[in-house]
Symmetry: C2
Amino acid sequence: MGDSPENGNDLPEPPALDDSASRYCFSPIGTIHSPFREKFGIPRQPGLMPSAEARLELLPPYDRDEAIRGLEAFSHLWIVFVFHGIAREGWRPTVRPPRLGGNERIGVFASRSTHRPNPIGLSVVELAGIVREAGRLFLELSNVDLLEGTPVLDIKPYVTYADSIPDARSGFAPDAPPIWPVYFSAEAEQRCRNLAGQHPQLQHFIREMLQLDPRPSYQTTPGRRYGVRIFDLNVVWHFDGEAFWVDDIEPAQG
Amino acid sequence: MGDSPENGNDLPEPPALDDSASRYCFSPIGTIHSPFREKFGIPRQPGLMPSAEARLELLPPYDRDEAIRGLEAFSHLWIVFVFHGIAREGWRPTVRPPRLGGNERIGVFASRSTHRPNPIGLSVVELAGIVREAGRLFLELSNVDLLEGTPVLDIKPYVTYADSIPDARSGFAPDAPPIWPVYFSAEAEQRCRNLAGQHPQLQHFIREMLQLDPRPSYQTTPGRRYGVRIFDLNVVWHFDGEAFWVDDIEPAQG
């Protein structure tokens, strides 16, 4: 709070705030380019998958160097975004978090569920770099839980003295989720080698994704085969009761 | 991410998301009742003023016990809100943070300034209690930096393993701001005693507020007198170059 704006010129009008009708309307200031092409497979919180790298593209008129001046002095950022994939599905007063086995219901405001009255997401991510390419301005992020095409409403620096509360009491999710073993079939391992030119970290990425157990809690029959879309690929895998197995990696359809 | 919604009924429609026009519109789920009646005097981050207590009132149809079931297991919450006081003032690509003495400009996205392209605020607060009074549902909050009447868009639990990054590098604001001495005139001290029935913590509140130095960085001439509105009061004070002095406390006008 409490900063003094400079006087500027050639600036766009602020976004229309329709607060006469008790509605506040926002236009995205950026868009996410991410390897996660569907909600399935995305870590349930940020910070769990260091190899999950994404780019935040600043949209005009926000793609000015001056708007991010000094940002490189921060190691982490808050991304305030819209859960756009599910935005039209609505909300429910209670949800069943995967961390409670999918059986127990808690209030939507006691959860980080995507099915919220206002589908606004909040993620802390690592700032790995800032690049300009062909006139476009990108923030390089890692350790993300963000879907391809996510509309970004705001970027804020992570201010450790205010935002970091190591001894906060965190209800049903006191610790990071457990890590499972992940094995690759000979075919899947060969595919990773063949794709190393385009995706040098592919095997590592898939391991970090599956070891978090992305299965929906209502769908955990051992042996069941799943497909997850990442990059332009479909990763086929199953859980055998003790570990995750990557069966195959194929080009994604459609 | 990844929770399973329950099936509900008698629920309102989700808020209209006007994403065909690349605008996302949200209606408040709650309102803040706070002793801070103007932006001046509000701590520049939450977590700096334990005696700053506020209430978040859940608005219908969100004022259901089930929507906050389990919230009491969390000590801290994120409040996502609208900077409503300044909403129509617009944004500038750079700002001058008070922490840099008000001289140096940094990018708006490298700051927590209120003058943002989308005026969305983000504060972590302590959850002190949950009360229902005359049918209305309130979350009791402390350590806030929230203005009276703030429209709340979302409430999320603070999840320590994901949100707390004690070793994050925080640019120009690595530590909490310094603390100044605060003294009360005999008159001001007497006023605090007289007001103890309504405001038992008043002197403590004023001390915690002023010791953070709320002066705008462009307005720091020693001896200058300021008035700050808190509760239904106007607190008159000055800075003598070494300490803050509370001169008087009077009923607020208007």
